[in-house]
């Protein structure tokens, strides 16, 4: 942005940087030359300074100390429970797949009328779908609804 005349539109951010003391060298000299020549630029710098003064008494909110007291305990709980759920899901998936295979084999091998076989297969599939649905809800959906109705 140096080595050319000051463009009041394109180079306007340089005025912010100038007011913030973030400018030096050629860019600073260019801004100062423009300020010497432009009353509007001087007014803009004053507006930017007024902006900084207006926000000087504020800072980012801090979390209250009592919230940090329980922070680590719940962080470790969260970590342990995440691991617990991963292990549980893996275990249930393996046992479920094995059980489904066994049930399927038993149904196919059994001397039962076809409608009964189909009903048993549908029941086994239903139990599997419900089980995975509950796990999915527990893992991904439940957290969405905890505080929906709470307005702070």
């Amino acid at each position: 942005m140096s080595g050319r005349p000051f463009d009041p539109v394109q180079d306007a951010p340089l005025l912010s940087a100038y007011v913030d003391g973030e400018l030096e060298g050629e860019d600073r000299a260019r801004v100062e030359a423009h300020l010497a020549a432009s009353a509007e630029a001087r007014r803009e710098v004053e507006r930017l300074r007024a902006f900084n003064r207006a926000t000087a008494g504020l800072r980012l909110r801090e979390a209250p100390p009592e919230d940090w007291e329980a922070f680590w305990a719940s962080a470790y709980n969260r970590s342990e429970r995440s691991l617990g759920w991963v292990l549980l899901v893996v275990g249930v998936a393996v046992v479920g797949a094995w059980g489904l295979w066994q049930a399927g084999s038993a149904i196919v091998a059994a001397e039962l009328p076809l409608p009964v076989k189909l009903a048993l297969a549908a029941g086994a599939a239903g139990v599997t779908v419900l089980l995975f649905s509950v796990l999915r809800e527990r893992l991904f959906t439940r957290k969405r609804t905890r505080y929906d109705d709470i307005v702070r």
């Binding site: 942005m1 140096s2 306007a12 951010p13 340089l14 005025l15 912010s16 940087a17 913030d20 003391g21 973030e22 400018l23 030096e24 060298g25 050629e26 860019d27 600073r28 509007e40 803009e44 507006r47 930017l48 007024a50 902006f51 900084n52 207006a54 926000t55 000087a56 008494g57 504020l58 800072r59 980012l60 909110r61 801090e62 979390a63 919230d67 940090w68 922070f71 680590w72 719940s74 962080a75 969260r78 970590s79 995440s82 957290k143 969405r144 505080y147 929906d148 709470i150 307005v151 702070r152």
Partner: protein, 219 residues
């Protein structure tokens, strides 16, 4: 303690040290890096943690918890989501610290984790998003002039609501500069954007926020 080192508000932030890598057109190109002590402490804590001392991790995180909370609150607009995002971020840091490159500064790495986690949190949760992420360096309630205190509170609320309307990229730059004492170069480093982009986003944010402060709008 980290915020104290950085300075709380802009008034305090003037004392904040600057990153000293050279760049034409911008100050802060001094030979001494004023953030060196901060980075040295970060590195020492990370090395302690990697050697098996969990106190190193807790000290590191305790130093950064309020800045991380501020970033998360600015992005989620909700205290509970911000605390959740910070907690998830710290767990991610805990899992990934072994892959962190020690020669790099820690804050930009942490910032990216907190930012991504907070944005995911805001997307996943459907909570109220009107918590004002700002507070007073000195509480106006303590001021003898009740009218001035009420006006200050009003300004804080107007600015807080206007901030929520800003695009996320502008808001992050604005909050980091004005309320976390970060210099342009640090913001560029943390967000992975060019210095000129920091300048233009900050300037644009100020233009948009002027009406909320009751200042004359730019022509």
């Amino acid at each position: 303690m980290f915020l104290a080192a950085l300075g709380g508000g802009r008034a305090n932030n003037r004392a904040a040290p600057r990153v000293g890598s050279a760049s034409p057109g911008l100050p802060g190109a001094a030979a001494v890096d004023p953030w060196a002590e901060q980075r040295r402490r970060d590195r020492a804590d990370i090395e302690r943690f990697l050697a098996g001392d969990t106190d190193g991790f807790e000290q590191l995180m305790n130093r950064y918890r309020q800045p991380a909370y501020g970033i998360a609150l600015g992005l989620t607009g909700n205290h509970d989501d911000a605390m959740d995002a910070v907690q998830k971020s710290f767990l991610r840091v805990h899992r990934s610290l072994g892959r962190f490159r020690l020669e790099e500064p820690f804050f930009p790495w942490l910032y990216r984790i907190v930012r991504n986690t907070a944005l995911n949190q805001r997307r996943d949760e459907k909570r109220h998003q009107g918590d004002i992420p700002l507070e007073f360096v000195e509480r106006p309630d303590d001021a003898p002039d009740a009218l001035a205190a009420a006006e200050a509170n009003d300004l804080r609320e107007r600015l807080g609501h206007a901030l929520a309307e800003l695009p996320e990229e502008m808001r992050s730059v604005f909050l980091m500069y004005h309320f976390q004492g970060r210099k342009y170069r640090e913001i560029a480093e943390a967000m992975g954007i060019p210095l000129g982009t920091v300048m233009s986003r900050l300037h644009a944010a100020r233009q948009r926020l002027r009406p909320a402060l009751g200042l004359e709008e730019a022509p």
